[in-house]
């Protein structure tokens, strides 16, 4: 850690729910999401709600084999079925693509090989879903079955039958980073501990399944297919536009991507998903609009969730608890394609830093290919599983050294502003306050160690980036650009490429614009995520929107405000700098602005002041004339000021962009581009759990979750994000697990993939900590992801506190907990976990099942073409 100039260090302030009385009129107020009404009434339109005249339905044929060469694919029988319009195969769009420039290893539909059960082979376009499904059964595919790889450590030994020919040993990417001098660090330590941790695979389980509607215009000059419009459930419309252009061989300017309402992303829609490309390819061939909506099972195959991870972690500490060195070896079971994998494995290493002061770090990361659906980005991208290991181990160390687990974390704090040993710049740092708050609120000091039998408290911390400082496609382009247009109607239209996916992007944009302009929130109209209308924004991922699009919005608004100020200043006979924009008015700083400042918040937000007696637009000119005659004044309504500006300047528009500063872009080492962020959020949590020692069932009673989000632009929304993160983390900690048997997903549905229900939801007390980041918009930074990672180790540590078992494999299902309890008590041993000891796991387990045909089993279904041939 290199300490930077420490003057001007922002001091964190802790605020409670009711004390959000700031100098702002819209920022910091708990306002309803701007799209809340349409979502709660059902009036809002998601992609699957859309329909176009002549629209057809696409259905995708998926591979039944985990790894096979396609010897022959014959679609002729399917094509002949009534009401089938087209059948698309790999050859119809052979260009490869992938979200990362280094990982263009996917095809719209498989060309020569299938690489996981569920891989995409063909798409039937028909007038109805049932017809398309029936036609899928008529597509004949002949395979040459290849040996498949399911366990990442086995896969790394592969010499032949590689998943991708250009990836020896099925290794997508490996990184070996050394920062400081880890050997020396371990040598200097008084105590070293080392363990293996396993985190099983989880997925986003967003409420809305992926859906895409693609439609080509007919070019008026040529009569051929012209421009393409795609409506899709995406977090990244601009990346989708880019990848469509690659695969379809079309210029980006001929492709328009529109993002309707999205029912949750969590990272599962943060890259181009096969159906988005397939729908466009199918629409081109069918010469008609095509919609594809995934079934829930297909969502699980598209996946891109958090990979199964093996973490071998070693930590060295001094007797006082100060960390001297950390060594981590991380193996990720990445599935059959690269996806975001290279970024995931880098985040896992890079974000060992920036939470605590660790002087020496060694990191070996392996992203491994296996014959399973691809893993990608998921809430807390890359950090969550390693954080589970790290915070569990730190708890263990605290126990060994007899240091309070909250105290050991305090002894390892960074001293910001600083640059960590691995090159991450930290400015605002609310972690100390987060720890203080949860210790206080949970009664940690008086209750820890004095809990009733089988009940315990656990603490853990986490952090996350507020957007990546380096875009995945290297360029000097700003990461976000926002345009604002204000016309004579007094309406403020904000054009932003940022994608609302339920996290509150549109609401944040509206609040930032309204606060900056001092106008009523009701004046703001958001036009978002439409590549034809809105300037480029790289998307809603890595918690970048508030920080980056927020800053861009602020800058665009400031530019417009400057123009309004200059016109209004002339009207008021003062300098533009003397004007205050607030409460839908513009007034001289010196003026005692009675009324506006005292208006109740609700009114401020919802009602735009109407200019005097004037209502119709035609009358506005004469109003202006009248005002002119009245001579100089001390204040104007926002609308009057706008009209005055348009009279002077013509069209009133402004633009603002944001690119992370150079100082925040990280070290120069290979892979150093991932991890750096302009600001980091911080979180600390205490979980209170009880364990049923006869059944192994864990109940989470309460979680105190403090989160440093810089400034809470909308506290009710911040609290929602904290609660959602804790809840999702709890799912990964206790119940959620993708269960595999030789590459076949045993639980591809929400009945058997068990996200917690409302019954299991504990009381969650969100605590907002505001460290006021020097570069964030109004001091804000991320709040949607960082809290997730702390929940898992907080629960693990609470389980240890309750019953003395250290679980090193997640999720902590009752069978794992009971197996560990029995082992501890030396009670009658039952092999409840198929030979894997959850306190000292060695390998990832496969779901039991006595027989497996490896794809060579009897194909006896009456619709199965093979069977039909046999029967004559």
């Amino acid at each position: 850690m290199v300490e930077l100039r420490s003057t001007g260090k922002p001091r964190a302030a802790v605020r409670t729910w009711t004390s959000f009385m700031t100098d702002f009129s819209i920022i910091g107020k708990p306002i309803a999401m701007v799209d809340a009404a349409e979502k709660t009434t059902g009036a809002g339109k998601y992609t699957d709600d859309l329909s176009l005249p002549g629209m057809l339905i696409g259905k995708i044929l998926h591979s039944p084999h985990p790894h096979a060469r396609i010897k022959r694919i014959d679609t002729s029988r399917a094509q002949k079925l009534n009401d089938v319009i087209a059948v698309v195969v790999g050859a119809d769009a052979p260009n490869p693509y992938g979200i990362l420039p280094v990982g263009h290893d996917e095809h719209a539909l498989a060309i020569d090989k299938v690489r996981y059960i569920g891989d995409n082979l063909a798409c039937v376009v028909a007038v109805s879903e049932a017809t398309a499904e029936a036609a899928l059964e008529l597509v004949e595919v002949e395979y040459e079955i290849l040996p498949a790889y399911f366990d990442p450590e086995e896969s790394m030994k592969a010499e032949s039958n590689l998943i991708h020919d250009n990836k020896p040993h099925n290794l997508e990417k490996d990184y070996h980073h050394t920062f400081g001098d880890p050997d020396k660090g371990f040598a200097q330590s008084d105590y070293v501990t080392e363990s293996r941790y396993l985190a099983n695979e989880v997925t986003h389980a967003a409420m809305e399944p992926h859906s895409t509607l693609a439609s080509f215009d007919i070019d008026s000059q040529t009569g051929q297919a012209g421009r393409l419009t795609v409506w899709s459930s995406t977090q990244v419309p601009y990346y989708l536009q880019h990848k469509l252009s690659l695969v379809l061989d079309m210029p980006m300017s001929q492709i328009r991507v529109i993002k309707p309402l999205v029912g949750g992303g969590f990272g599962g829609k943060s890259e181009v998903i096969p159906l988005e490309i397939i729908a466009a390819v199918a629409a081109r061939k069918a010469k008609a609009p095509v919609k594809i909506t995934y079934t829930r099972e297909e969502v699980f195959w598209a996946h891109r969730g958090r990979p199964r991870t093996i973490i071998d972690l070693k930590t060295g500490v001094k007797n006082d608890g100060r960390i001297t060195a950390v060594k981590a070896r991380v193996v990720q079971d990445g599935g059959a394609y690269c996806s975001y994998g290279v970024v995931t494995i880098l985040y896992s290493g890079a974000l060992l830093g920036a939470l605590y002061d660790i002087p020496n770090i060694h990191y070996d990361g392996y992203r491994v290919l296996t014959n399973k659906p691809a893993c990608g980005a998921m809430r807390g991208h890359g950090t969550v599983n390693v954080r589970f290991a790290f915070e569990s181990q730190l708890d263990e160390i605290a126990g060994r050294l007899q240091i309070d687990p909250a105290e050991i974390r305090r002894r390892n704090l960074l001293k910001p502003p600083c640059i960590t040993v691995n090159g991450l710049r930290v400015q605002s740092y609310g972690l100390p306050e987060c720890i203080d708050k949860i210790v206080e609120r949970s009664g940690w000091k008086s209750r820890k160690g004095k809990m009733p039998k089988s009940r315990g408290l656990g603490i853990a911390c986490s952090h996350y980036v507020s957007g990546a400082a380096n875009s995945i496609i290297r360029s000097d382009m700003p990461h976000s650009t926002v345009n604002i247009k204000i016309d004579r109607d007094g309406g403020v239209v904000v054009y932003t490429g940022a994608s609302e996916i339920g996290q509150g992007s549109d609401t944040m944009t509206a609040q930032v614009a309204a606060e900056t302009l001092g106008c009523a929130l009701s004046r703001i109209k958001i036009v978002a995520a439409d590549t034809d209308l809105t300037p480029i924004d790289i998307g809603s991922y890595s918690s970048r929107v508030t920080f980056m699009a927020g800053n861009a919005t602020m800058r665009a608004a400031q530019e417009v405000k400057k123009q309004i100020a200059s016109a209004a200043a002339k009207k008021m006979n003062c300098a533009p700098e003397d004007l205050v924009f607030r409460d839908d008015s513009v007034f001289k700083q010196s003026t005692d602005h009675v009324g506006a400042g005292l208006r109740p918040a609700q009114e401020e937000q919802n009602s735009a002041s109407v200019s005097g007696r004037v209502e119709g637009q035609i009358l506005r000119g004469s109003l202006q004339q009248k005002r002119k005659d009245e001579g100089p004044k001390d204040s104007m309504s926002f609308e009057e000021a706008v009209v005055a500006t348009i009279d002077f300047h013509g069209a009133l528009t402004g633009t603002g962009s944001y690119a992370p500063p150079l100082e925040a872009r990280g070290g120069k080492h290979k892979g150093g581009g991932v991890g750096p962020s302009p600001a980091y959020s911080y979180s600390a949590q205490v979980a209170e759990v009880s364990v049923d020692e006869d059944t192994g069932e864990v109940t989470v009673h309460k979680v105190w979750a403090a989160h440093d989000c810089g400034r809470a632009l909308n506290p009710v929304s911040v609290e929602g994000q904290i609660i959602g993160s804790v809840w999702m983390g709890m799912g990964q900690a206790l119940t959620e697990e993708m269960v595999w048997k030789d590459g076949l997903l045993m639980n591809p549905g929400l009945l058997e993939y068990r996200s917690p229900s409302s019954v299991e939801s504990p009381e969650i007390e969100p605590i907002i900590v505001e460290s006021i980041d020097p570069e964030g918009p109004f001091g804000a930074k991320e709040c949607s992801e960082g809290s997730l990672a702390a929940t898992i180790p907080a629960i693990a540590n609470a389980i240890y506190d309750a019953v003395g078992i250290r679980l090193r494999e997640s999720p902590f299902t009752p069978e794992r907990v009971l197996a560990a309890l029995r082992a501890k008590k030396n009670a009658k041993t039952l092999d409840m976990t198929e030979g894997v000891d959850p306190t000292a796991p060695v390998r990832l387990r496969e779901h039991g099942g006595a027989l497996w045909f490896k794809g060579k089993g009897p194909e006896r279904h009456e619709l199965d073409p093979a069977r039909r041939t046999e029967g004559g």
Binding site: A130, E297, V739, L751, P756, T833, L851, W852, F853, H861
Partner: protein, 329 residues
């Protein structure tokens, strides 16, 4: 996953239903299916587990609804919803174990649709079976549908899909009888005889027969009882193991006791020896332990669901013991 086309038959009386069912019964996957609440049938039809030509909708038949007290006991129409059972004051008073079991089924929304008859007729479940056509094709199908081998029992030719209804365990403890109506009239049989113990052909119901009523005998009214269900989530989930117990105690001694298990065998089963062991004894920790072991021996869970079979069997033991001790107090 689309719902394939079928013809919907909507009789208004039981006789009409039987007359429609008999000639159009069909067989195999195309056999006519009866729909009541539809919470089990519709997802299965989407997964192409059933592809009936006809679906017989019995929801219009008023005589199949409601709870009636009679000389012999209490009769429950097969169409009575689980939420209706949950709220029934008669059942709460006299057959609390059934109410408790009904309350644990799925979620409140499902219970508003799902019927007691449907819960009794519930198809057996298995991770290798309750999957889409594409999924099942990728494992070469299984013995219960389209295939000829079982994935959960080595070399198995027997289907081990687990019966996963909650209420039948309670009904077995209550010595419930069921009434079946067919073209030859009605027949009554103990619920215990309804199940075969096979995972595939799991019930003794002719294709032209309908389950019409459930009869709870007077003899088992007012027994104390309880139902314990193993599930990962507190809502939605099917049981991964279930134990129902009824006891009749006199002066601290057990006059009679019955224990039934569900979700750990292809049928809900009574723990036969338990009744003998319990009879005449005073309930204490040791006895509860002994009976728990007996129950665990009766359970034969396999990898048909989440959680390992060993764990599920162990929970049968724990739940039985706990439930007995809870009833003793």
């Amino acid at each position: 996953m689309s719902l394939a086309d079928f013809k919907l038959l909507r009789p208004r009386t039981l006789d009409e239903a039987i007359s429609l069912l008999a000639p159009q019964a069909g067989e195999g996957a195309r056999a006519t299916r009866v729909i009541a609440g539809g919470t089990d049938l519709i997802p299965s039809m989407r997964q192409k587990l059933f592809e009936p030509e006809y679906v017989l909708d019995i929801r219009q038949i008023a005589e199949l609804k409601g709870i009636r007290e009679t000389e012999q006991g209490t009769e429950i129409g097969a169409l009575t919803t689980l939420s209706c059972i949950e709220r029934s004051s008669v059942l709460k008073q006299h057959y609390p174990v059934l109410v408790e079991a009904a309350k644990t089924v799925a979620s409140p929304v499902i219970r508003n649709m799902a019927t007691l008859g449907g819960n009794i007729c519930l198809d057996t479940r298995c991770l290798w079976y309750n999957q889409s056509l594409t999924w099942r094709k990728s494992c070469g199908f299984c013995i219960k549908k389209d295939g000829d081998l079982c994935h959960v029992a080595a070399g198995g030719k027997k289907c081990w899909a687990a019966f996963s209804g909650d209420t039948p365990a309670a009904l077995l403890c209550l010595e419930a009888e069921i009434e079946l109506a067919g073209p030859q009239g009605t027949r009554r049989l103990p619920l215990n005889d309804f199940y075969t113990g096979e995972g595939d052909s799991y019930r003794r119901l002719q294709l032209n027969e309908l389950l019409t009523r459930i009869i709870l005998p007077k003899a088992t009214a007012d027994l104390s009882g309880t139902y314990r269900k193993l599930r990962i989530r507190g809502s939605i989930d099917y049981p991964l193991a279930g134990v129902a117990i009824t006891l009749k105690c006199l002066n601290g001694h057990i006059e009679s006791g019955r224990i039934a298990l569900t979700a750990v065998n292809p049928a809900p089963v009574l723990v036969k020896k338990a009744s003998e062991v319990l009879q005449g004894k005073r309930l204490d920790e040791e006895l509860a332990e002994l009976v728990g072991d007996l129950a665990a021996k009766t359970a034969k869970p396999l990898t048909t669901s989440a959680l390992t079979p060993e764990y599920r069997r162990e929970m049968i033991r724990v739940f039985t013991k706990r439930a007995l001790l809870a009833l003793a107090n």
